[in-house]
């Protein structure tokens, strides 16, 4: 991995980020770092803008026609929202795993090979290697190695999500953004994904949005708590080490949320 590049401890830095949907301000003034080779969890009630911030990190918000972003997201010393930056390159470096497992309606092999292929890799042997390595990293290889030609949609939900992780790994990103990756999975599949995240964090920086506070507590090193103000605009209330957020929250709203008093 290319962990020696960039500015030290941080994989990404978000600075004064505002995101608008049409005229509506969805999140206001987010400033926070994403630590390198650590898991950072975004928690908060529904509609607080945590997914919006996540999608701002690799410019997925560009795909929503009415979305508009202000502020900076610094990655490798560059603001990725500078006009000269191609979002396609950003998304290849900062990968994404979505809430609902969304394998392509293609074979397992083609799912994983899709990323390298769009990057122009055609050599069959190189692709074979990448597919095997990515599936091993995603702890899926042993389960699917004998039928790589099977449709990705034929796998179980947990396997599909690991396939999506393998697919994201195949383009060798620095950062992996996970948008509630376990919300559609059963507890056993969830546990496997969590174990996988702990293994992957050695090589990658991971950001996970989760509704499940216990999950944030189990896997993450840092936690950001978002909530909405009275005008339904999301804001960052607290960002700190996970143990600190959960044991000694500095903001009463964080304490209320963690105690289950709202959200």
């Amino acid at each position: 991995m290319m962990s020696s590049n960039g500015d030290g401890r941080y994989a990404v830095q978000i600075r004064h980020l505002n995101v608008f949907y049409g005229p509506r301000l969805a999140v206001r003034e987010i400033t926070m770092p994403i630590a390198r080779n650590k898991i950072t969890a975004f928690i908060g009630p529904s509609g607080c803008g945590k997914s919006t911030v996540l999608r701002a990190i690799n410019r997925m918000n560009d795909l929503i026609p009415e979305a508009r972003v202000e502020g900076e997201v610094i990655y490798r010393g560059e603001n990725i929202y500078r006009p000269e930056i191609d979002p396609v390159e950003i998304r290849r470096r900062i990968g994404m795993v979505f809430q609902k497992p969304n394998p392509f309606p293609k074979s397992i092999y083609d799912n994983v090979a899709y990323g390298p292929r769009v990057l122009g890799i055609k050599d069959r042997r190189t692709l074979d290697q990448i597919v095997e390595q990515s599936l091993r990293q995603a702890a899926l290889w042993d389960e699917v190695k004998d039928d790589l030609k099977k449709s990705g949609l034929a796998l179980s939900g947990g396997q599909q999500q690991r396939l999506c992780i393998a697919r994201a790994l195949a383009v060798e990103p620095d950062v992996i953004l996970m948008d509630e990756p376990c919300s559609a999975l059963d507890p056993i599949a969830t546990e496997r994904i969590e174990d996988l995240m702990k293994e992957l964090v050695v090589d990658y920086s991971i950001v996970i949005v989760t509704h499940n506070m216990q999950q944030a507590r189990r896997v993450s090193e840092y936690t950001a708590f978002f909530t909405t103000d009275e005008s339904r605009t999301g804001e960052l209330v607290e960002f700190d080490r996970t143990d600190k957020v959960f044991s000694m929250p500095s903001d009463p709203r964080t304490a209320d949320y963690i105690a289950g008093r709202f959200g």
Binding site: R91, F98, P105, S151
Partner: protein, 477 residues
Amino acid sequence: MGEQVQDRQSFVPGDQAFQDDLRRRHRRAKRWQVFFFASLVVGLLALLALFANVADEAFGTIAIASKYSEAEVLAALSEARGVTVEGPLEALENDDLAQVLALYIPRRVPVIVRDELSRVKPEDFTRVPLREALAGATLPPDIADLTISQLSLEQQTAILSANLTHDVLYARVLNDVIGLDILKSWTLSRTLFDYAGIEAEFQALVAAQDPPNPQLKPHSWLNSTFVTGTQSSYPELAGIRTAILGTLWIMALTMLIAFPLGVGAAIYLEEYAHSGNWLERLIETNIRNLAGVPSIIYGLLGLAIFVRALAPISSGALFGFNEANGRTIFSAAMTMALLILPVIIIAAQEAIRAVPQSIRDASYGLGATQWQTIWYQVLPAALPGILTGTILSMSRAIGETAPLIVIGASAVIFVDPSGPFSKFTALPIQIWQWTARPQEEFRNLAAAAIIVLLALLLVLNSAAIILRQRVSNRLRG
């Protein structure tokens, strides 16, 4: 079907109002159910009536007369050959059929050679040597420099036998020797339920007109001669090969033009143009309205633009073809393509819209460009839906008659279409043209042509559906 609602007791005694209301509601549900079922039955009956009507016309009984009977002709041929020739006539070899022509109509043999094989003007035919007059035909070298008049009857007959197909020779024998004449035709229903009546009519007909060799026989207007033959003013010889080929040519070209254009426009509207401004809305509304414009109006458009304004292109003159005007397959296909373009665009738009956003997100999330996302993910996932819409539009186009009439399809044409710049006729034109004739027999032919059209439609649709099924199976893996 419905539940038993009559004598049900209420759980709560005394609530009579509720019970009455409930019974009323059940009765209303029942009435609607009966109505829905009746609609289905009416629809099915209408379909059945259509098929029955077509079959009624296409099959039945005919009364024929002929100058000579088959047996007479076979006997004459046997005598000439010196051996017994077995029938039926249709099974005879080329040289036997040619011999029949020579026996019965010797003076017409050179005329048949001229009609079927001549490559020169009629007035030159008897003057120029055969090498030139029959260029391309199989000729014995010793007669190539002679003219037709210098040949013996045997030599002329040999030319026919060597150069005409069996079907043409047989048709000539039927037409010119036997002189088959259909006196009257009866429908399938009368054949099945009132054959005695038909026989009585037949006897009366024979008594009144005294035709030579009268014969009453069952007849299918849909037969191999009909499907493979060319047009003729004799109903017993008329065929629809040119019309089938015309229809296939038009459909192929139409699809070639309309499919890429329609899918392309749909991709642009769905994937690129999503700012939702007034221009886009105007375009979308217009496309939807265009899908409902009557086809004859497209015909007028095609006449004005493709046939008239673009005559040099649509007649093929620009590419060195020698068609006199733009009433060609090219014009027909362009008009049909315009006609079905809105339907394809709308169907493709809906299919593209139905592709889950999550697939696009996944593709973009891996660093794919918009084009890669469309080409590798959106289009393959939308293809089954796009094909469904295309199949429907094709079914519509194949039966369209009005625009073809307006742009000037040939009503009578004897030459098979050979390319985009040929004159043409098409199955619906042929059907329309035959139903407009006064003779009963042509209505029978029209019914037979309708069966062919329906069969063609079924074949094309099945092919497209199988294709769609394979595509969507491949996607599901």
